[in-house]
């Protein structure tokens, strides 16, 4: 599938009271839409399922929602699941639609903390409900950020061979005269994607320039979705992949390598940091 990205968070203007959790939890709800995923909201521990109803204030079209920096991979009893409903009432009983069917969440590192659920884009509802479930015993779900989006532009070209992904762990090591050393863990792993492109047509190149302009280089964190889809059915692991990070390209440049074919800058997308102990 094609690459997609989302820049504008649809939940950013909501008050903390717009998030109603079951079981009821209100502490630190503001962390859910503060734009950073390193401060985690924690739901009261409960067995098998937890859900949140988000009151958008008015009927709103959403094309997807990213569940960022969660600890759902640690939920007991095997593969946890999630589904998204939308309705016209807070009780999720009126004109209910299933925006995303039950999806088995990817719990394989290093992609086990961030998931994106993409919808068909046909639902315009005021109330959206996300339901996590797992089997067996009680578990306290923690979540760094909910990033819903109403638009996810796609790129018509994927990157060339030679791209790749990295996981960066930051450390500091003090070396001593005896040859001994002492290492400190400072943070990580921080995921990053390197995406080289070449031989773009002008329109393809302009898509990248549009992305660069939309995120204002490394100023605005955004969602990078390597596998775009627009379906209500459950997402495969590849379709859940997402990076919430920055585009580490300040100057977007290109050269005309061949007649009307352009070699644009390589894109480097690096995830935002997480909290201590993540």
């Amino acid at each position: 599938m094609s690459y997609a990205y989302a820049v504008t968070p649809a939940l950013s203007g909501l008050a903390a009271t717009a998030f109603t959790w079951t079981p009821a939890t209100t502490t630190n709800r503001a962390f859910l839409n503060d734009g950073r995923m390193d401060k985690r909201f924690a739901v009261a521990a409960t067995a098998t399922t937890v859900n949140v109803v988000i009151d958008m204030g008015a009927a709103t079209l959403l094309k997807g929602i990213a569940l960022l920096n969660s600890n759902i991979a640690s939920a007991p009893g095997g593969t946890p699941q999630v589904q998204v409903l939308a309705a016209d009432d807070a009780a999720i009983t009126l004109n209910v639609v299933q925006a995303k069917s039950t999806t088995n969440l990817n719990i394989t590192a290093p992609k086990q903390k961030d998931h994106v659920l993409q919808f068909t884009g046909a639902q315009t509802k005021r109330y959206w409900q996300i339901i996590w479930s797992w089997s067996a015993s009680a578990f306290a779900l923690q979540l760094g950020e909910l990033f819903a989006f109403a638009a996810s532009p796609q790129l018509t070209r994927k990157s060339d061979y030679g791209g790749g992904e990295s996981n960066d762990i930051r450390t500091s090591v003090v070396e001593f005269d005896t040859g001994n050393s002492r290492g400190y863990f400072l943070g990580g792993p921080v995921r990053a994607k390197r995406l080289p492109f070449s031989l773009h047509t002008e329109s393809q190149r302009l898509e990248l320039e549009t992305l660069h302009a939309a995120v204002k280089a490394d100023a605005t964190p955004f969602l990078w979705i390597p596998s775009y889809e627009a379906v209500a059915t459950g997402a495969a692991a590849a379709e859940q992949e997402v990076i919430y990070g920055r585009l580490e390209v300040n100057e977007f440049a290109w050269t005309e390598g061949d007649y009307q074919l352009f070699d644009p800058s390589e894109l480097v997308i690096r995830s935002l940091g997480r909290e201590v102990g993540s």
Partner: protein, 810 residues
């Protein structure tokens, strides 16, 4: 899960965190960190993007080294704008205080933290498009820099003083009404400053003149009641009999017509028989001590200790024959001057009644001023001056230090590390004395010809508290620093009780890099010296005082100026008796010794040890030739590099801490030959005692020593023929070999027939009366000059012989 336990472990996550508060941490405004984490119920937000190196250390002046560090705070979302925004600078930035923590994760991933220090803004923050840059310094340059400003004459006016009466300072001329009143600490006498000194008399027209009504009902005119201010105090307690009262003197200043009277002290009775009245019927009151009502200045409550002084009574006293009979002539240096004539009324520097050049009618303004001009200052023997802590016996330097921090600085009552203060209090024995006042440095002409005594002041001005603490600490050889808990801490420059009895952490060689050592350069802390000059209270120097043996040994003189400005004996000596000849080397913790300074780099685990604390460390240089083997060191400074988790340490060598001047301790362990690790066998009827292991020879047991038996298996409930035959002392006659000795033949009843094995914990080898240390080189001896602690000491000084018997058995 303490920081000290976790920080030494490998692979821990390292975090730095900063608390921001505007109410001295009653509440916390922001919690920022190098990485987000949850601590208790509080989230620390990832916002610290750069932390500069943080230096903590002592400076040569006994205070924390003046240092600051920088921190950059992510402000891309404008959250930190409040530190710079004009509208909030006055409400927030001025008051902002910061606490820096080092955090590490434990094995469960939870964060444990260690406070590194509490800081204030050294300069205003700088904001650019993405960050706010902070320049932070600890309280040695913050709230500990300046004293609370005591009230002045203008503050005092209109204040009920004493109750129901209002002091009115009308007619005041040539007095700086804005100059803060002095603070006086230490043992009396204190200086009294007559406010009518420089020019016009001060008439307390509404003052409590009734207090001066004599027993005969004759009151003296209020118009000649003058205030003599002693000091300001934060003590809110009502004045007591001991406050201010006690002998009061006036001291003559330098007079052009009678220079020989300069320094004369004249005792001034509180009341005396009216020379003009009927015998025994009427008494005049010359002075009365008062404490003003509360004066609130800058939000802090103060009171003024002062005397109401009657010029009427003074003149009556001076013109009578009574004063000459009850005063002895004092030399300017304070000694009795038996060869000197009594200055009589006619000798007073200015005519007390009427004379040429002074208007007749006596009580003119000019006449009052002329009378006062002869008086340089008043001297009062009451106590406690401005002191609150230990005020029953004022003058302990640590009490004064505690007062300065708790009551005379904005830090307040919780700012003192009481444990460290208590340690230092025990190790500091000399009395301190000093005064902080607004010195009037104008020429005498500008002050109406009056030579006000100002040489003993710590002048009030910019950074007064810091300079006052420096003077106090340097006079009493202790160091001041800001502890990791953000409080003011003290540490004795030499041993205290805890250093003699404590155990110390070690810094393993596996955690050392870039080790080097050197002897401190002349002028640095701990540089060796064999000649001292004492900084006198007037700012001059006394000396030289030599360590003659060291000068001979070293072959050269290395001089050092040591503090003395707040040394009580010196203060009073200069004030009263001129230059002192006190034996400086015995009176102070001075030494002629080369103490190496070692420098090395280690990791943040050293943060569990604070400044002035001790640790052991070896430097074997790869095992080739150990420069130091398990030596004791005292931390002098640390430079913390937060971004890389390195700490550069400087420490001073103190391997002699526990051996050079051992302390006499209550438990008297020095007479213990050895603590056995093996059982002992005694056999009923036998004088031979056998130990299961170890060696009597190695333990240096000698004839005359005592074997103390404390067999816990022998109880009163199951007595032998005679109870407690194995709970007694037996005396050694001779040592046979490593495992056997023979006791002095006497009572060899050790219970029932046969052998009895006494557990290792139940017997002990002690020196006996004939084997007590007899030579100075004996390790168990007490070198001359040893300091005392425990039941036989009082404030670190041997108390008396009655207490000495406690030495024998704790």
């Amino acid at each position: 899960m303490a920081f000290a336990d976790e920080v030494v472990k490998d692979g821990r996550e390292l975090i730095w965190a900063l608390d921001v508060s505007t109410d001295n941490f009653a509440t916390t405004l922001y919690r920022w960190a190098t990485r987000s984490f949850l601590l208790g119920a509080n989230w620390y937000e990832e916002r610290l993007c750069r932390l500069g190196n943080i230096k903590r250390g002592f400076a040569a002046d006994h205070l924390p080294a003046a240092s600051s560090f920088s921190a950059s705070v992510d402000n891309t979302d404008f959250v930190a704008d409040f530190l710079v925004t004009q509208a909030t600078v006055e409400t927030v930035t001025f008051k902002a205080r910061f606490r820096l923590y080092c955090g590490v994760t434990d094995s469960a991933g939870a964060v444990v933290t260690q406070l590194i220090g509490t800081f204030v803004l050294l300069d205003f923050p700088t904001r650019d498009s993405s960050v706010v840059k902070l320049s932070l310094a600890d309280d040695s340059m913050g709230l500990l820099a300046d004293l609370l400003v005591p009230p002045n004459f203008a503050d005092w006016e209109g204040i009920a003083t004493p109750a129901t009466e209002v002091f009115v300072g009308q007619g005041v001329e040539n007095i700086d009404t804005q100059a803060p009143f002095p603070l006086q600490f230490g043992p009396p006498p204190y200086i009294g400053f007559p406010l009518g000194h420089y020019g016009s008399p001060i008439l307390g027209t509404s003052f409590d003149g009734t207090a001066f009504v004599s027993s005969g009902g004759v009151g003296l005119p209020r118009r000649t009641l003058f205030p003599v201010v002693v000091c300001a105090t934060r003590d809110s307690a009502t004045i007591t009999a001991d406050d201010v009262s006690g002998p009061v003197y006036c001291v003559f200043g330098q007079q052009t017509n009678r220079p020989d009277l300069a320094g004369f002290k004249v005792w001034l009775p509180e009341t005396f028989p009216n020379p003009k009245g009927a015998a025994g019927s009427i008494h005049l009151r010359m002075w009365k001590a008062y404490k003003s009502d509360t004066i609130t200045k800058n939000g802090y409550a103060w009171k003024i200790l002062w005397l109401a002084f009657s010029l009427d009574a003074y003149v009556a006293w001076m013109t009578s024959s009574l004063w000459a009979l009850q005063n002895v002539p004092w030399t300017p240096s304070g000694a009795l001057d038996l060869g000197r004539a009594y200055p009589l009324a006619a000798d007073y520097p200015v005519p007390l009644t009427s004379a040429a050049g002074v208007p007749s009618g006596s009580w003119s303004q000019k006449w009052c001023s002329a009378v006062f001009r002869a008086i340089d200052y008043f001297e009062l023997a009451g106590k406690p001056g401005s002191q609150l802590t230990g005020k029953a016996n004022p003058g302990h330097p640590i009490d004064i230090m505690q007062d300065l921090v708790e009551h005379y600085s904005a830090l307040g009552s919780s700012a003192v590390d009481t444990t460290r203060f208590a340690r230092c209090r025990k190790a500091t024995t000399k009395l301190a004395k000093g005064m902080v006042a607004a010195g009037d440095t104008r020429g005498t002409a500008a002050r109406g010809g009056q030579a006000l005594n100002t040489q003993n002041l710590s002048a009030f001005g910019l950074g007064t508290l810091r300079s006052t603490i420096r003077d106090l600490a340097s006079s009493h050889d202790f160091d001041v620093f800001m502890t990791t808990s953000g409080q003011v801490g003290l540490v004795s420059q030499f041993a205290d009780f805890e250093t003699q009895t404590g155990t110390f952490p070690s810094v393993d060689e596996e955690k050392q890099a870039g080790v080097s050592d050197r002897i401190p350069s002349v002028g640095e802390r701990w540089s060796p010296y064999n000649r001292v000059f004492i900084e006198a209270p007037d700012g001059g120097q006394l000396g030289p005082y030599d360590n003659a043996a060291a000068i001979t040994s070293w072959g050269r003189v290395i001089a050092k100026v040591v503090g003395g400005k707040w040394w009580a004996s010196l203060f009073d000596s200069v004030l009263v008796a001129g230059l002192t000849s006190s034996p400086m080397w015995q009176g102070r913790n001075l030494e002629s010794k080369a103490r190496p300074i070692i420098s090395f780099v280690t990791d943040v685990s050293i943060l569990a040890v604070d400044l002035g604390e001790y640790f052991t460390m070896s430097w074997t240089r790869g095992g080739a030739n150990a420069a130091y083997s398990s030596s004791l060191w005292r931390i002098e400074s640390m430079v913390i590099s937060p971004s890389i988790g390195r700490v550069s340490v400087e420490a001073v060598w103190f391997a002699d801490l526990q051996t050079d001047q051992p302390y006499l301790l209550d438990n008297e362990t020095l007479v213990v030959r050895a603590t056995p690790a093996h059982s002992l066998t005694v056999t009923d009827g036998s004088s031979t005692i056998t130990r299961a292991g170890g060696s009597f020879i190695t333990d240096a047991v000698a004839a005359g020593d005592i074997i103390r038996l404390r067999d816990t298996t022998e109880t009163a409930a199951t007595p032998d023929t005679e109870a407690f035959t194995r709970n007694r002392d037996v005396r050694v006659a001779s040592v046979t070999d490593a495992l056997n000795l023979v006791i002095v033949v006497g009572d060899t009843d050790f219970g029932t027939a046969g052998a009895h094995v006494i557990a290792a914990a139940d017997w002990l080898m002690l020196r006996g009366a004939t084997t007590y240390p007899s030579v100075i080189t004996d390790a168990a001896n007490y070198p001359s000059g040893s300091a005392f602690f425990g039941k036989i000491s009082s404030g670190g000084v041997y108390s008396n012989a009655a207490a000495a018997n406690k030495l024998l058995d704790g």
